[in-house]
């Protein structure tokens, strides 16, 4: 195996590169046009990223923050999934510990009401899943019934 370790770039001194000349993430991304056409031409799903280290570093930090925020949001609002997953693990000391922690975590978040958004969506979706054609027809009739009159019973 050949050794091809790329050395990190030399740190730039203020004399080499004035700070004001460095592009900021917001400036850079505001100024850049969409790159969809380039990606399409190459057959790749998206275009080649820029070679500029500063922009790439900004992009990486942006991505890491997005992933962090999304993960925290899911950890807070999607705790039932964590608990369901924990119960599917084969019974070992480790999996039992994970299961116990998940149970406590889910219980605490339920007390705060953070399970509500997921539960509301889940319940509505289940109601839709169980709907029959008769329910659909009934629903349409209810919609067509003038206000103030009772809908026909099924």
């Amino acid at each position: 195996m050949s050794e091809d370790i790329t050395d990190p770039p030399e740190p730039q001194t203020p004399e080499d590169e004035p700070t004001k000349a460095l592009p900021t993430a917001s400036q850079t991304w505001r100024d850049r046009p969409p790159l969809i056409g380039l990606a399409e031409a190459a057959g790749f799903a998206f275009s080649e990223p820029t070679d500029e280290d500063t922009i790439a570093d900004h992009a990486r930090r942006w991505t890491s923050r997005v992933i962090l925020v999304a993960t925290l949001l899911l950890a807070a609002l999607n705790s039932p999934s964590i608990q369901t997953w924990a119960t599917t693990l084969p019974p070992t000391w480790g999996s039992q510990t994970v299961d116990d922690l998940a149970e406590v975590w889910t219980g605490r978040l339920e007390q705060l009401g953070l399970d509500q958004p997921r539960t509301v969506v889940h319940d509505h979706y289940q109601a839709f899943q169980q709907m029959s054609w008769r329910d659909v027809v009934h629903g349409l009739r209810v919609r067509r019934t003038p206000p103030g009159t009772s809908p026909p019973h099924r």
Binding site: T6, I55, R65, V66, L74, N78, V136
Partner: protein, 464 residues
């Protein structure tokens, strides 16, 4: 959940090694082996052996000036890859067929039967290995700088088990230097992952359990309505299942800084079968075109030869999917219709004849594809015939609930979205601040999590 944790650790570790490309690649290779070993650790050895073989053969080809030797080497390399694939994937099938033939000839023998476990993703990584060796021989790609690059090319976990088939010429240049991430790429990757999760867990899984699996298990128990619904349902299921895997693979690779080629492009809006194969499993159809159809002569030998080449390509394309006559028949249907299209356009149709309206072309193509899917999904010819016979049994549908019909219509309606809709959304997402983008991505995944069923079946293409 486990894959999510695995990805978070891999993401954080690889980017922390960003300044040291070799160590980064070593880490990614190790992570890929761990990923593969999670399914069955014994086959990691096969993966390593396959990569070693292709690296060695390509190196010999690259180092040799002698044309005959290069030809011999590429022949040996391709043959060994095919033997590996043939043994693990087709051994049982061919032994069964041989037994049947000997029985017919009156020479019945006890043939050595072995239960060979099919290593997950073997069709993908052997095809990748073969394309690397052939490309080096053709001079389309230089030999890799190191064994590590070839190992990672074949083992890289996002595409390892179900593609897309990423060529050496696509990935090796990306391995040569530390990858760079752009906000566009990251936003696109995150949206593709969320979109893939939605298609797989909400559409494909529900259609499988609620309609397709019961109907294909016993087609005689259902009437025409359910059977037609299940055929369309399977068309939506397999698209949402396989394209979801490709989307997630492309998205995960993007977040690690690597670009994969697109694998699907709204296939059911195709006006002909030829167009369908430019939009469906693009990496496989390009592979078959470049390494099978063109070497067979492509369209250079006249109409009759072109039709024969098309037929051979599609039959072998069918066999690639699995060791079963139903897959070969699926390939035969595609080959026949492609041949008919070719003959129609080249020999029958006059230039002054009016063109078929686009909508009719889309409807006819979609129904031909659905007919072929019946064979693809059936576990035997007997099941497929029972299914087709049942289409004349006019009874009220029992499984086509409003929910199931919404999933089928919704899955087909995805093809009416503007082309590159995810890319356009990503172009917007990458311009907003990270906390807001994180909230949007988190809410999208939360919505998928809230509506998905409890147990999710593995991806369909894992079996190939």
């Amino acid at each position: 959940m486990i894959f999510g944790l695995f990805f978070l650790v891999t993401y954080a570790s690889t980017w922390s090694l960003n300044r040291e490309n070799e160590r980064r690649k070593q880490f990614l290779l190790l992570a890929s082996w761990v990923f593969y070993a999670w399914w069955d650790w014994r086959f990691v050895g096969l993966l390593i052996a396959s990569a070693l073989l292709n690296w060695f053969v390509a190196k010999q080809i690259g180092d040799s000036e002698n044309r005959t030797r290069r030809k011999l080497l590429v022949g040996v390399g391709v043959a060994i890859n095919l033997i590996i694939l043939g043994f693990f994937k087709y051994y049982g099938f061919f032994v069964d067929q041989l037994g049947e033939m000997l029985k017919l000839a009156g020479w019945e023998r006890d043939l050595p039967l072995m239960h060979v476990i099919l290593p997950i993703g073997i069709s993908f990584f052997t095809f990748q290995g073969m394309s690397y060796v052939i490309d080096v021989h053709r001079g389309k790609t230089p030999k890799a700088h190191s064994l590590l690059d070839v190992m990672l090319l074949m083992s890289f976990f996002p595409h390892l088990v179900a593609g897309p088939i990423v060529r050496a010429s696509d990935l090796l240049p990306q391995f040569a230097k530390p990858p760079k991430l752009s906000r566009e790429m990251a936003a696109h990757g995150l949206l593709l992952i969320a979109w893939g999760l939605f298609k797989k867990t909400v559409i494909a899984s529900e259609l499988a359990t609620g309609l397709v699996d019961p109907v294909f298990f016993d087609p005689t128990a259902y009437g025409a309505g359910d059977l037609v619904g299940a055929a369309y349902g399977y068309a939506v299921q397999i698209y949402c299942d396989f394209s979801a895997y490709s989307d997630i693979a492309i998205g995960v690779a993007a977040l690690l800084g690597y670009r994969f080629p697109r694998n699907f492009d709204q296939p059911y809006r195709s006006r002909s079968l030829q167009e369908f194969w430019r939009r469906w499993h693009i990496s496989l159809s390009n592979w078959l075109r470049d390494y099978l159809y063109v070497p067979l002569g492509g369209n250079r030998g006249g109409l009759a030869r072109t039709c024969v080449n098309l037929m051979i390509t599609m039959l072998l394309g069918g066999l690639w999917h699995g060791a079963s006559w139903t897959f070969i028949a699926w390939g035969a249907i595609h080959g026949t219709v492609l041949t008919i299209e070719r003959v129609w356009w080249s020999a029958i149709r006059k230039p002054n004849w009016p063109r078929l309206p686009t909508l009719w072309g889309v409807i006819i193509t979609f129904n031909v594809v659905c007919l072929a899917w019946i064979l693809f999904r059936s576990d035997s010819f007997a099941t497929a015939i029972a299914y087709l016979q049942g289409l004349s049994r006019l009874t009220a549908p029992t499984l086509l609930t409003p929910f199931i019909v919404t999933l089928i219509v919704g899955g087909l309606a995805l093809h009416a979205l503007p082309p590159r809709a995810v890319e356009r959304t990503a172009a917007w997402l990458c311009r907003i601040p990270s906390p807001a983008a994180g909230l949007i991505v988190g809410v999208l995944i939360l919505l998928v999590e809230a509506v998905r069923p409890a147990g999710i079946a593995p991806f369909i293409y894992f079996q190939f």
